[in-house]
Amino acid sequence: MKDDVIVVDQVSKSFKLHHNRVESLKGRFVGIFKHRWRQKTESFHALENVSFRVRRGDSLALMGSNGSGKSTLLQIIAGILRPSNGWVQVQGRVAPLIELGVGFHPELTGEENIYLNASLYGFRNREIRARFSKIVEFSELSHFIDTPVKNYSSGMYMRLGFSIAVHLDPEVLLADEILAVGDAAFQDKCHAKVADMQQEGMTLILVSHNFDQVSKYCTKFVRLDKGQVVETGTLGKQNQGWAAK
């Protein structure tokens, strides 16, 4: 369908688990003779045959317990990992909030890190220059923007990273449990900003096992268990009881 911004089609992902990982040539050679040195590999299926579609402006929650494959799926959608089988198609500018402040270098100033981080998302420096004051203003760090990031508190670091990501006008936001950072007041500001962006038609995929957070942002959900989709549905006021399951 035309409106589908994200198509996940029969995606499987298996990892090789290396027990007793051997990286040197010597180790490999010795492994031929000695069992104890041998590298043992085992296949681990993180995702099996996962399919779903997300339409423009929709917000989907990826639910599931630890190790159910939801973060792996998010990394595949973000293009970081490649599926072992199946395919994923994403339309539009994607901002992955998988970790905040990716590529921040501690010795560089906040300002330099803004340009570096934004260019990792494929932005030109002049596009950032136009948004620079907005990013700084939102992060409330104007007083510290010319000091090295290594002197920031962890809260300041997160605020800067978050502020950059949401000011890049993403058409698709992929969030791994992070949708708000900082103290209570700043978290409210983050919530308001994300809600604003949703109003403007941004598509959201949120990985979470926190029902409160999910119900605040998402209208649909996919629940994964051991790498397989076990439940899909819509989140409305009428069926919030499912969380009790």
Binding site: R82, W87, V90, G92, R93, E99, V102, L108, G122
Partner: protein
């Protein structure tokens, strides 16, 4: 602008289209600027330190081959410096390339961007620093007995080939290093051997005829002879050596791109 990104087992993850690479050009610029800034941060002399290594090496050999084993060759200093300046670029890129994927694991595992930009920006960092050495070399060039003539106009072409060659070698080493950590040590040893197996501080003519052809199979010997021909002999490099040099460059770049493209999407999981 809307892009459609497809991710599947068969999609080409590492080699993106040229237009995608072009869109990320500011990332390359920022990565290079960051690396240069961080590398010489806090050092009073800053990036001037990048000149110290080639300078000390050159002076050392000059002293030895002027006083200990005097060379009969006219303008020996110019001859030797030409070889050393170009060797320095190869030496720096190869010894640093092994670890670039591992060093950038934090970026590669957290965000998608064209992976090819990692080895590219690493080579560009070295090229930027090296261009200072090249500038110093060009200042000393007439003082050491070199002539500015139209032959020098062919230099950018050979320099581009040399740059592509070094980039290709860098990609191959970076890809292999993730699985075979021995490579780094192997490279260190090989660089020592290669330096003496390359006619940098001695002339190719001094090598017995039967070994000359063997020596010239090495791409490093080829580019050294090419640059000596341009700067020292004031002669356009021969067609044979130009073609050999181009073949090597093409082979290394093709193998490098192929290997990088094939292996990197999977390597990222294991960094």
């Amino acid at each position: 602008m809307t892009d459609i990104v497809e991710n599947s087992r068969t999609s080409t993850g590492a080699i993106s289209s040229l237009s995608t690479l072009w869109r990320y050009r500011d990332l390359v610029r920022n990565l290079v600027a960051k690396e240069i800034k961080v590398r010489y941060m806090g050092a009073a002399l800053g990036f001037i330190w990048s000149l110290v290594n080639p300078l000390v090496v050159t002076l050392m050999y000059l002293v030895i081959f002027t006083y200990v084993f005097p060379s009969m060759q006219p303008h020996y200093a110019l001859f030797m410096v030409t070889g050393i300046v170009h060797w320095t670029l190869f030496n720096q890129v190869t010894s640093q390339s092994c670890e670039i994927l591992v060093q950038n694991a934090g970026l590669l595992k957290k965000i998608y961007f064209p992976r090819l930009l990692v080895p590219l920006s690493s080579v560009l960092v070295n090229l930027t620093l090296w261009s200072a050495a090249l500038a110093v070399y060009l200042v000393f060039f007439p003082l050491l007995g070199g002539h500015f003539s139209w032959v020098l106009l062919t230099y950018p072409f050979y320099l581009l080939l040399f740059f592509l060659f070094v980039w290709g070698v860098g990609m191959i080493l970076a890809t292999l290093y993730v699985d075979f950590r021995d490579i780094k040590h192997l490279v260190e040893v090989s660089l020592q051997v290669l330096f003496w197996a390359t006619p940098i501080i001695y002339q190719l003519d001094r090598v017995p005829v039967q070994f000359r052809h063997v020596l010239l199979l090495s791409p490093l010997a080829e580019f050294t002879v090419v640059f000596q021909s341009i700067f020292y002999d004031n002669r356009v490099p021969s067609l044979t050596i130009t073609i050999a040099f181009m073949m090597w460059t093409m082979a290394v770049v093709i193998v490098g791109l192929w290997l990088f493209n094939k292996r990197v999407p999977e390597l990222v999981e294991r960094l």
